[in-house]
């Protein structure tokens, strides 16, 4: 089963990650879900696909009160990100889901009605959780055409969706331990999934300016300390939008 681990806690403000499911079938990509709490309100980032809902819900319920989750944040529209929406709404029909305006009429194919989705404009906006303001940071075309990351200025944590993702086995450590080894697992993914060099460079400038202390992707290990800037530098230098050449 997945485990929930605390990443940051200061008074009533906290970040937790639900990660690493050894029981996950191989045909499903592993995902990280982050719970950002302030007071009695909780936001869940990229709540995951339908098939991982049992593992995600159970891990949260084990160490947190899932009834506190009143907000979802969907970085983009992919099924591994938000296809569990209908199940979360079964649990709490009042949940609101913030996502790019671009996907507000697409995501309801997974569930919800006209009141469920809260559109985020292209330039980003604040998202309130229990009186605390998180910032939706534009990350369009990385990889989705309507894509956002989420920044917490107090905790210094940047949730980066698919940026920084690495395809790792479930027994891999939660935090990046050896950057040069780890980044090999991320390279192919970033070259193929991230299609725009302009968007990538734009994001690198924006992310660098935020000075995050932790960079939390939806797949794979979390970057912290010096590895955060190491990643941004590496990403800036990376040639993206590359189709792997067939071997002859």
């Amino acid at each position: 089963m997945k485990k929930m681990i605390t990443l940051y806690e200061k008074g009533a403000h906290s970040w937790r990650v639900v990660a690493r499911d050894p029981a996950r079938p191989n045909h499903l990509i592993d995902t990280n879900e982050y719970l950002i709490s302030h007071g009695d309100a909780t936001l869940l980032t990229d709540p995951g696909g339908q098939e991982v809902f049992p593992a995600v819900f159970a891990a949260i319920a084990e160490g947190w009160d899932p009834r506190k989750i009143n907000t979802l944040f969907s970085s983009h529209q992919d099924p591994d990100v938000i296809s569990s929406l209908a199940l979360w709404l079964d649990f709490n029909p009042a949940i609101k889901c913030h996502t790019s305006w671009l996907w507000c009429s697409f995501i309801p194919h997974f569930g919800g009605d006209e009141g469920t989705l809260v559109p985020i404009p292209d330039e980003g906006c604040g998202i309130e959780v229990g009186g605390f303001m998180l910032q939706a940071v534009p990350a369009h075309f990385l990889h989705s055409s309507g894509n956002f990351h989420l920044f917490d200025a107090d905790a210094g944590i940047l949730f980066t969706g698919d940026v920084g993702a690495a395809l790792q086995p479930p027994e891999a450590p939660l935090f990046v331990e050896n950057f040069s080894e780890h980044i090999k697992l991320a390279e192919g993914f970033h070259k193929r999934w991230m299609g725009s060099a302009a968007a990538k460079n734009d994001w690198c400038h924006r992310a660098r300016a935020l000075k995050p202390t932790m960079l939390c992707p939806q797949h794979g290990a979390i970057y912290r300390g010096d590895d955060v800037m190491r990643f941004i530098d590496w990403f800036e230098a990376l040639e993206v939008g590359v189709l792997r050449k067939a071997k002859h």
Binding site: M1, Q50, F53, P54, A55, A58, A61, P66, D90, F91
Partner: protein, 199 residues
């Protein structure tokens, strides 16, 4: 068939409805042709055949109405069956979540799901029952048409030498279409019953 479900029945019904529409159309054409031929003759000996031709045409109309109703039901069943399949998947995931989570975490959710599921199951069962009733009505229509085709044969035999062969052919073809409709109806009733039992 081990995997008979509502969608299997709907697909079979829709395909059968297409076949039956074709039979209905052919019968209508034959009936009109026979009416024109017998009207041309103005012979009192063909009055019976004219009446049978009218009835063939009416039968074709009745079959059309019955098929319309059946296809409307098919449309509703597709919606219901899709809801049912989605419900089964959600239920499986919700039950798994409840099993893994601390006791009571999803109790209200499972209770609400059960109530919704029960309603959906009842509606789905009622629809399958209606399908069976509609198919039985179609089978009855097929039987009636077979009787009518026998009458047409008898009436054709009473026609003059010139018309007898043509009218007998019309009656024979009507009989074949009637038999096809009956066969289709008889084939589908057990399929729908199996789906209802499985539900």
């Amino acid at each position: 068939m081990s995997s008979v479900n509502g969608l299997t029945v709907v697909v079979a019904l829709n395909e059968a409805a297409k076949d039956m529409r074709e039979h209905s159309f052919q019968v209508r054409i034959r009936a009109l042709d026979a009416l024109v031929r017998s009207a041309k003759q103005q012979s009192s000996g063909l009055a019976g055949f004219r009446e049978v031709s009218h009835q063939m045409r009416r039968w074709s109309d009745d079959l059309g109405t019955q098929l319309e109703s059946l296809q409307k039901l098919c449309g509703e069943s597709v919606v219901r069956e899709s809801q049912f399949r989605t419900m089964l998947r959600k239920r499986r995931l919700m039950e798994r979540a409840a099993q893994l989570s601390p006791a009571g975490a999803l109790e209200h959710c499972l209770a609400a799901t059960s109530t919704r599921d029960a309603k959906l199951r009842t509606t789905r069962l009622a629809e399958l029952h209606r399908t069976i009733v509609e198919l039985e009505a179609l089978t009855q229509l097929g039987l009636m048409a077979i009787v009518l085709s026998h009458t047409a044969m008898i009436e054709a035999a009473g026609a003059g030498n010139r018309e007898r062969a043509v009218l007998s052919q019309v009656a024979r073809e009507f009989g074949e279409h009637a038999n096809s409709v009956l066969r289709i109806g008889k084939r589908l009733v057990p399929l729908a019953r199996t789906a209802r039992e499985a539900a």
